[in-house]
């Protein structure tokens, strides 16, 4: 109905307007489908129009020889000279790998062609192909130099994103900018299907973000809808089944009892199982713990627009249960979004955007010593699964408990609500002069409730609780950003394109939290777990609070200049003041410059040869990482002062000095250099990008830098000061290839490959020879170090040289007594690295590091008729992982590998003997360090687009069904659950404590468009 009215009005207006010098026509795409919203302008004038829903347009008042320009995003711009035609139909050609694609670069945008920094983008199309659970997965393997590793496979776990290696001993997470505003909510709280594009700024181009941009910047733009588009309804849903991708090869009950008997016999001790024939249980604990779990997603969106206004509405829900603990580790995300953009007047455009997210998770102990999987890997197979209290079974030390009981006794509820929004106005107050004012905010609250029931796991077990306890906390964070900036975009004399951006931004974030915990929860039940219901009295009833405040005021400016679209220059400067900065460094200046030369635009260049496009570019600049601890420059009375006084032995509280102050504290400075080459070859089918980068991170903020004990820094809740005391460099090359070809009308394919090398080295630490971190075993020295000349967080331990086969070999070797015991045949032989004739802690050395030498990604998509096939893979090469999920205790279960133990001369030169006696085989050495290289087939998906005759029957405009496998297969030598295991910690990363493996997911999905 509406359409008819429109047509009527249209025909009337065209007929009225028909006169001399008027041209009209239809703009269509390659497939002759009309394109609405095409921009049509007349060169050198302000005249212009856009096409309507049916691709029709009319232009009036033309003069002969004027040039009409037809442009539309994703298509090549066409210029046609007006020679008096009355009808001009135009077919626009899709620009195959659109060099003219718009790329956001912070406080502005540029085209891919003109960009001079190292920038990668992932667009909505890739996200549609991948259907990732989490926006971070969309970056995994698709962008060179961006390494995305999940901290855990547990539902809702955040990913660790690292751009170009690890530069800081502190926080290495990149800055996330959502629709122009700093976003601290984590990528998990963003619905991937709301995303239009993800842009990664990897080099000095990010200097426009000053003191917060040193770790790289991820710019996420949400979908904005289109003008002149009738409402499109999208409904996407999928259902998946998750399973563990791996189980550890562990001993069964018979093997376990025999091996343990041997171990006791070797130590001359009484056998724990004198009769191995009457072992009652043979429990496969991993089988007990792992389950298949469901995942369900619904996403509903409507987008469209009239001539002046466009809008998007969407709602989504994701529910994921855990493969360990099912609903006890579940994750639930619900999002709602509304976006409106309107051209109110010719000179004024406003938009408003709001996203509400609710995340709910359950917090099962999934990581580290004492996690469910750690227990499953270590508990003895001779114990029955229903044995909640391990008293009377074999002694497994105080940490190992029944993992099933642990799941049953876990009661947590974490909920976060977040509302993010912004309001933006662009005012073109003079031609080419635009003032942008925008206000963005994030409001979030977190409600966490933990309940620890009274429960006895067995005597002395660290999880046993004689009394129950509920912990509650509520936290609120509110931040706002106000930006005000000018953009001047001018072309002078056709040759000089100048773009000038300058303005200011104000940021404030304020957080408050209240904590309370109480014992005496009625009925020992989660149903009553509330501090208001609990009845506990006495000293166990605690409460606390915090307030945080951060403010930042910044001024920035950027000049971009292009001469004849060939020679490109830009310069940026940002000035930051921040409440984090110390009194001696209150203002930070962050300058950078970039340049580019599009060689293929030169007259001598034939762009129809092998090379169609060549651009050489470079950038250099300084950025900051402002991860300064709040009030690090102030001495505060925040130390712990607690003692017991009075006849009733009451706990009393006082005050004491907290961390030592450092008034000289300042941000970390990154100096980034990048040289890159963009190529396009073979009829624009192959795109190649090559970058060399060198990032030097100076003035590293080193918290708790070892300081003399006489300064009282070991007092409770005191600590050494945070100082700027180190330098780390990362350098390497990044290469990416993308080839796409339409072989025939029915068949097209695209293939991409990228890799990046990382060479990481610590070049300076002031005031300390090294810094330590990580954890190995219990009570062993810290295994990870930061030390000059070594990669950040390398593993520091003993080198091994096989197994002592005979006593003669032991006698001929330097004594290992200093490690705790004299060696015996069958024990690990350690290398006397410093050659002093004795094996001790001094012989520790670099035995690996967690930073990959090369990261890579691969993707392939095939389209044949109505079928789509996509696969993505990524991998790391040259990183090591420390196997630390085996509890150092005599009676725990062990990996099957131990069956190949040394039992006499010549039996093994790899696996030491088993013994319950004293030995040094558990001392941290390269025996525990494994090659962590892997290649993972992350996604394989096959989709089918129903033909028109089917979808049109139900009034749809497209229907697609697909099936997909995520985390399909991993090629690796690593023996633990998952080679992607990493906390991402700069010092202490790459240590596997019993990592919750990332599940394999089989998905069936449906996308319908109306």
């Amino acid at each position: 109905m509406n359409k008819w009215i429109y047509l009527l009005v249209f025909s009337i207006t065209t007929s009225i307007a028909f006169s001399q010098n008027t041209v009209s026509g239809t703009v269509v795409d390659d497939a002759s489908i009309p394109i609405p919203g095409v921009n049509i302008s007349v060169k050198g004038t302000t005249q212009g129009t856009i096409t309507d829903f049916d691709g029709n347009y009319t232009l009036e008042g033309l003069e002969l020889d004027q040039v009409i320009v037809f442009s539309y995003v994703g298509f090549k711009t066409q210029e046609i000279t007006y020679t008096g035609q009355t009808t001009l139909n135009v077919q626009l050609v899709e620009s195959a790998e659109a060099l003219d694609e718009i790329v956001v670069i912070g406080y502005g945008a540029s085209s891919k062609r003109m960009i001079t920094g190292a920038v990668s983008t992932v667009n909505a199309e890739s996200i549609e192909d991948l259907e990732p659970l989490n926006a971070a997965n969309a970056l995994q393997g698709t962008t060179a130099g961006v390494n995305v590793l999940q901290g855990s496979g547990a539902p809702g776990a955040e990913s660790n994103i690292r751009i170009r290696g690890i530069s800081s001993n502190g926080n290495n997470a990149p800055l996330i900018i959502l629709d122009g505003f700093q976003y601290d909510g984590g990528l998990n709280s963003i619905n991937p299907q709301d995303i239009e594009s993800i842009t990664v700024l990897k080099d000095a181009q990010a200097a426009i973000y000053g003191s917060i941009g040193a770790n790289g910047v991820i710019l996420i733009e949400t979908k904005k809808g289109s003008f002149n588009q009738s409402p499109t309804v999208n409904y996407n849903t999928y259902y998946g089944i998750q399973e563990t991708s791996r189980t550890l090869p562990l001993l069964n009950a018979t093997e376990y009892t025999l091996l343990l008997n041997e171990s006791y016999a070797n130590a001359g001790q009484a056998l724990p199982f004198p009769n191995v024939n009457n072992i009652e249980n043979d429990t496969d604990w991993q089988d007990e713990v792992f389950d298949t779990a469901a995942i369900t997603s619904h996403n509903f969106s409507i987008q469209g627009g009239s001539e002046k206004t466009r809008y998007v509405m969407s709602a989504s829900n994701l529910q994921q249960d855990g493969i360990v603990g099912q609903e006890k580790s579940s994750f639930d995300r619900t999002t709602v979004r509304l976006f409106v953009n309107s051209e109110v007047r010719d000179f004024l455009t406003v938009s408003a955007n709001a996203i509400h997210t609710t995340n709910r998770s359950r917090g099962l102990n999934t990581f580290g010593l004492g996690s469910v999987l750690f227990n499953a890997a270590n508990i003895a197979p001779i114990i029955s699964p229903d044995r909640d209290n391990l008293d009377g079974t074999i002694d497994l030390g105080n940490e190992v408990v029944n993992p099933l009981t642990q799941i049953n006794q876990t009661f947590n509820d974490f909920e976060s609500n977040r509302l993010s929004g912004n309001f933006k106005a662009d005012l073109e107050y003079a031609k080419d002069f635009v003032l942008t004012a925008r206000y963005g905010f994030n409001f979030s609250n977190l409600n966490n409730r933990e309940f620890f029931p009274e429960f006895d796991y067995g005597n002395g077990k660290v999880f046993s609780r004689p009394e129950n306890q509920v912990n509650q906390n509520q936290q609120e964070f509110y931040d706002y950003t106000f930006d005000l900036f000018h953009t001047i975009d001018k072309t002078i004399a056709d040759y000089h394109d100048i773009k000038f951006t300058a303005g200011m931004t104000v940021f404030r974030t304020h957080g408050e939290g209240l904590f309370a915990s109480r014992t005496g929860v009625p009925n020992n039940s989660f149903g009553f777990a509330d501090v208001g219901q609990a009845t506990g009295t006495g000293d166990d009833q605690t409460n606390g609070s915090f307030v945080s405040e951060l403010r930042r005021l910044s001024y920035f400016g950027r000049v971009e200049y292009a001469f004849k679209d060939k020679y490109l220059f830009s310069g940026m400067l940002r000035r930051d003041t921040s409440s984090l900065f110390g009194p001696n460094n209150q203002v930070g200046w962050f300058p950078s410059a970039t340049a580019g030369w599009i060689i293929s635009e030169e007259d001598f260049f034939n762009s129809d040869g092998i090379f169609n496009f060549i651009k050489l570019r470079g950038s250099y600049g300084g950025l900051g990482n402002d991860q300064i601890p709040a009030n690090g420059f102030l001495s505060l009375l925040v130390g712990e002062a607690e003692y017991v006084l009075g006849q009733e032995q009451e706990l009393v509280n006082g005050q004491a000095l907290g961390p030592l102050a450092n008034p000289d504290i300042k941000w970390e400075t990154a100096v980034k250099t990048n040289v890159g080459l963009d190529l396009r070859l073979f009829d624009r089918a192959l795109d190649v990008t090559i970058d060399y980068y060198n990032d030097e991170r100076r003035d590293l903020l080193i918290g708790g830098i070892p300081t003399s004990g006489i300064l009282g820094t070991s007092a409770p809740a005191s600590s050494p000061p945070t100082k700027n005391a180190g330098t780390v460099t990362n350098s390497g090359i990044e290469v990416s290839f993308n080839y796409s070809k339409d072989v025939s009308k029915d068949f097209s394919f695209a293939v991409g490959f990228n890799f990046a090398t990382i060479n990481n080295e610590v070049t300076e630490i002031i005031d300390a020879e090294f810094l330590e971190g990580g954890q190995f075993g219990v009570g062993q020295p810290l295994p990870s170090r930061m030390e000059v000349g070594q990669p950040l967080g390398y593993f520091y331990g003993l080198k091994t040289d096989g197994i002592f086969q005979t006593q003669a070999e032991v006698d001929a070797h330097p004594s290992q007594l200093s490690l705790g015991a004299e060696a015996q045949p069958g024990d690990i032989r350690f290398v006397d690295v410093n050659g002093d004739g004795i094996i001790n802690d001094e012989d520790r050395t670099n035995i690996g590091d967690p930073i990959p030498d090369v990261t890579m990604g691969f993707n392939l998509s095939l389209n044949y008729k109505n079928f789509e096939f996509n696969t993505y893979a990524f991998g790391n090469y040259g990183n090591e992982i420390v196997r630390n999920f085996e509890r150092d205790q005599v009676n725990v279960n062990v990996m099957r590998r131990r069956l190949d133990r040394w039992t006499g001369p010549g039996t093994s030169n790899v696996e030491p003997r088993v013994t319950s006696g004293i030995n040094t085989n558990k001392v941290f050495s390269d025996y525990f360090v494994e090659d962590g290289s892997f290649l993972r087939i992350q996604t394989i998906s096959l989709g089918y687009n129903f033909p028109e005759k089917i979808y049109s029957k139900i009034g749809a405009s497209s229907i697609k069904i697909y099936t997909k496998v995520d985390n399909a297969f991993t090629f690796t030598e690593y023996s633990g659950y998952d080679p992607t295991a990493s906390t991402g910690a700069p010092i202490g990363g790459g240590i596997d404590f019993g990592f919750y493996p990332i599940p394999r997911i089989y998905t069936l999905g449906l996308n319908v468009k109306f």
Binding site: D391, S464, R552, L645, G654, G709, G712, A715, P721
Partner: protein, 500 residues
């Protein structure tokens, strides 16, 4: 461009630069800075609690002092469990030893917090109990410094206040004599301002300070001064040996209900009312040494399980005569204990950890400081509430007896003091004098105080360590090495102790 547009443009550009840097300089919300402290009586009282707090971390001194002596084996899960303790037990410790570093750090934290009060002592805030608070801070500083000089010999000192960043490179190690003079001075200044009855249970009294001063003198062989201070404590009449009066049983001396009892001259207070973790052992409000001393995997009545460290040796157990009540008080013979209960039909089980002959299982546990059944909070191994009897009246009597005898002052009185202790233990009084009396005092001192962390330092100060402790090297092991990290922080300012 028209003029008004230019004006608008200028105004709009101006808007962009109208914010002041002051915006980014807020005061920290709800935080007390060091500039705004010690402004009231409450501030002083609160900071004093902060100064008592590090006493709880001296659990480390007690358990390692005992392991270092000939009384106990390190024990633990294996011969490498808490390697620093194992090395000290074998007397093969070096300057790289986290556990010795803990003792340095924890006690200097106490020095730092007490000095923070003392450096503000003369400010304008006046109130009645100020002198008492300052005096307690001085007592505590003396206590921490005395521990440091016992362990490490000459240490850096700064009597006027707390150390400031960088002073580790400028303030030298003082001599042992200078450190002792500093400790004596703090105590002598504190004594007149301290009340005879501490204002609260757990705080220092005048007699606590005098007992400590007597001990400090004894460590320097200043016998007359030592005897004088210790006798003042004895003659106060405020203390008696527990078990010698109606309704008291000596064997209950280390039970919870006798804490802060008639024998307690100074006692370090612990509670199980707050949880703790391995990440910060010094933050625990419980006695960490107790959980570490517990029987591994123990399942039975009376006690709770623990990590099986600090195991009395057969030789130490054999040093008790069979009729010495202190043997029962001090030693838990686990096999006999299990057998006794089994006879009553109560099953008792436990596990054995470290079986190394030099540092491992002996079958005996330090009963004075074993974890008793209680409802402490997790990690239950770290939060046992057993108070540490830092200065016991029996210790005061034995120190006084030693000072009187070794100073040639009064053997009869020395014998009297010693016999009070012996009689309480169910032993016959001695009539020895001279060097025979001294040997008896030494032996009774070992037996009376076994398990309480004094033995190693008693052997060292009396020059007898090498003949009792396996592996002890003279002119080296009398003190422990300054932690390597500290030597490095000092950048050449502090020299390592001889032999390390």
């Amino acid at each position: 461009m028209k003029l008004y547009k230019v004006i608008i443009a200028i105004c709009l550009v101006g808007m962009c630069f109208s914010c002041s840097d002051e915006f980014a300089l807020p005061d920290p919300p709800f935080a007390v800075t060091s500039d705004a402290f010690f402004l009231s009586q409450g501030d002083f009282e609160n900071s004093l609690i902060g100064a008592y707090d590090p006493l709880q971390a001296t659990y480390a001194n007690v358990i390692l002092g005992e392991i270092a002596s000939d009384n106990t084996h390190a024990g633990g899960e294996s011969a490498t469990d808490v390697i620093g303790w194992q090395q000290v037990d074998r007397m093969i410790h070096t300057e790289v030893n986290d556990n010795l570093d803990d003792i340095w750090d924890f006690n200097f934290a106490g020095v730092y917090r007490t000095s923070y009060i003392i450096e503000n002592a003369d400010n304008e805030v006046e109130f009645d109990s100020k002198a008492q608070i300052i005096a307690e801070a001085k007592f505590l500083r003396a206590y921490f410094n005395f521990e440091l000089v016992k362990w490490f010999g000459g240490i850096p000192i700064k009597p006027e206040g707390k150390f400031e960043l960088g002073e580790e490179r400028s303030i030298p190690r003082s001599t042992v004599e200078e450190v002792y003079a500093y400790i004596e001075n703090d105590l002598i200044q504190a004594i007149p301002d301290l009340a005879e009855q501490a204002p609260q249970v757990g705080r220092a009294s005048k007699f606590a300070a005098q007992a400590l001063l007597g001990k400090v003198y004894l460590y320097q062989d200043k016998f007359a001064e030592s005897a004088q201070e210790l006798q003042a404590v004895i003659n106060s009449g405020q203390y008696h040996l527990y078990g010698t009066q109606e309704g008291e049983d000596f064997l209950n001396l280390f039970e919870f209900f006798v804490e802060n009892g008639p024998e307690s001259v100074f006692e370090i207070q612990y509670t199980g009312a707050q949880g703790a973790g391995f990440g910060c052992l010094q933050c625990s409000e419980g006695n960490v040494a107790v959980g570490f001393s517990g029987v591994r995997g123990y399942n039975g009545p009376v006690f709770e399980s623990g990590f099986g460290f600090n195991l009395p040796t057969q030789e130490a157990v054999d040093a008790f005569s069979d009729n010495d009540l202190r043997k029962q008080l001090t030693i838990l013979d686990i096999e006999a204990w299990v057998a006794d209960f089994q006879d009553q039909g109560v099953p008792v089980t436990y596990n054995i950890g470290n079986q190394d002959p030099q540092t491992g299982h002996t079958g005996f546990y330090n009963r004075k400081y074993l974890p008793r059944e209680n409802d402490n909070l997790p990690d239950v191994n770290l939060t046992h509430p057993n108070n540490y009897r830092a200065i016991r009246y029996a210790d005061v009597l034995l120190m006084a007896a030693e000072a009187l005898n070794r100073g040639g002052i009064d053997d009869a009185l020395a014998r009297d003091y010693l016999n009070q202790v012996r009689e309480r233990a169910g032993l016959a009084p001695t009539d020895a004098s001279g060097s025979v009396l001294l040997e008896t005092i030494y032996l009774d001192r070992r037996l009376e105080l076994m398990g309480e962390g004094h033995r190693f330092f008693d052997l060292v100060r009396t020059g007898r360590a090498a003949s009792f402790i396996d592996g002890f090297q003279e002119n080296k092991n009398e003190v422990f090495p300054i932690p390597l990290e500290e030597i490095q922080f000092a950048q050449g300012n502090w020299e390592q102790n001889t032999g390390y």
